[in-house]
């Protein structure tokens, strides 16, 4: 098997197992109240981390500040103006593209 296919199979199986673990092993168990309360705060914690890593993350770890940050600012402005989701995404992409043309 070529390295490409090995990576496809191994990454696919690992991802399958990671995703299935919770719903397979803990499906019949109601989490204790404190654990449930913590899990209710998982989405904001992870989404905020994704915003940060996708906005200023470098290819191999570390920080890279580039046009993405301007795009994110435009997206935030669109959110403040209560723009629909597609407009938020479009504003971010268009701003980043514009900054790259100008810079």
């Amino acid at each position: 098997m070529s390295p490409v296919w090995i990576s496809v199979v191994v990454i696919g199986l690992a991802t399958f197992a990671i995703r299935a673990a919770g719903p397979l092993l803990l499906a019949r168990r109601t989490p204790p109240p404190r654990a449930q309360a913590a899990l209710e705060h998982l989405a904001p914690a992870l989404l905020a981390a994704l915003v940060v890593t996708q906005a200023v993350g470098g290819d191999n770890g570390g920080f890279t500040v580039d046009a993405r940050l301007a795009g994110l600012a435009a997206g935030a402005a669109a959110l403040l103006l209560r723009a629909p989701l597609l407009a938020v995404i479009a504003a971010a992409a268009a701003t980043a593209a514009l900054v790259r043309v100008v810079a």
């Binding site: 990576s7 990454i11 995703r19 499906a27 971010a92």
Partner: protein, 230 residues
């Protein structure tokens, strides 16, 4: 989509997966375009036409796929590529915990339905009571899977026709998308604190670890919520 009264329509209280499809439609557009750029990149990295599409169906996780393909394309080695992708997908461990009681049916069905969990489908299916809306998650996940895979196929086959995704600003679309998904979730003070904590943990770790670890570690910020049991 307009709602019509229809004698065949599910009775009130019964929900439809179409709702998830509808809510996720704008994200589907972004997923298609990003799948397109993944297909182009994977083809350029020497993966051929079929492997990228198979990867999009089975792995179904943008950042991990991009990382693996760019490492392979740069000659970075198989083990490095696999490790980077798996690290980036480790966040689906804690995410899966929050979805542990979401799916019904026999074990194999729960295992396969759980594969529809991606950041976006998971984020939009959050209910006010802290549990996940199965219909939103499955509908959104299916739509995103179709968009992501179709985009990959088009990109891998007709890749030469597509412009560089960065010149289109597409890499800026995702932080904005995640911000938009975060926005409605931080009205409560404790959730805002969890978000700030998650961002702070990620920022603090980013200079020292490879991609993936900062996001997994950020999930610890959810413990802020454990102070006050529901």
């Amino acid at each position: 989509m307009r709602r019509v009264t229809d004698p065949q329509a599910p009775e009130p209280g019964r929900r439809s997966y179409l709702e998830g499809v509808r809510v996720a439609a704008p994200i589907g557009v972004a997923a298609f375009v990003f799948g397109l750029s993944f297909g182009v990149l994977a083809r350029a990295a020497g993966m051929g036409r079929v492997a990228p599409v198979v990867m999009s169906v089975t792995t179904f996780a943008g950042s991990a796929q991009f990382a693996a393909v760019s490492i392979l394309g740069a000659g970075g080695g198989l083990a490095t590529a696999i490790a980077a992708a798996v690290l980036l997908n480790l966040r689906y461990g804690p995410i899966g915990l929050s979805a542990a009681t979401t799916f019904k049916g026999p074990w194999w069905r729960r295992a396969f339905t759980a594969q529809l969990i991606v950041d976006e489908s998971w984020a939009i299916s959050q209910r006010d009571d802290g549990r996940l809306d199965r219909y939103l998650l499955v509908g959104a996940g299916l739509l995103l899977l179709v968009c992501w895979t179709t985009g990959t196929a088009v990109g891998a086959i007709a890749g030469d026709l597509v412009a560089d995704p960065e010149s289109l600003g597409l890499d800026a679309a995702f932080p904005a998308l995640f911000l938009a998904l975060l926005w409605p979730q931080v009205r409560e003070r404790s959730r805002l604190l969890a978000a700030l904590g998650g961002a702070a943990i990620a920022l603090a770790l980013m200079p020292f670890t490879g991609p993936g670890i900062p996001i997994v570690a950020a999930s610890l910020a959810c413990l802020i919520g454990a102070r006050r049991p529901a």
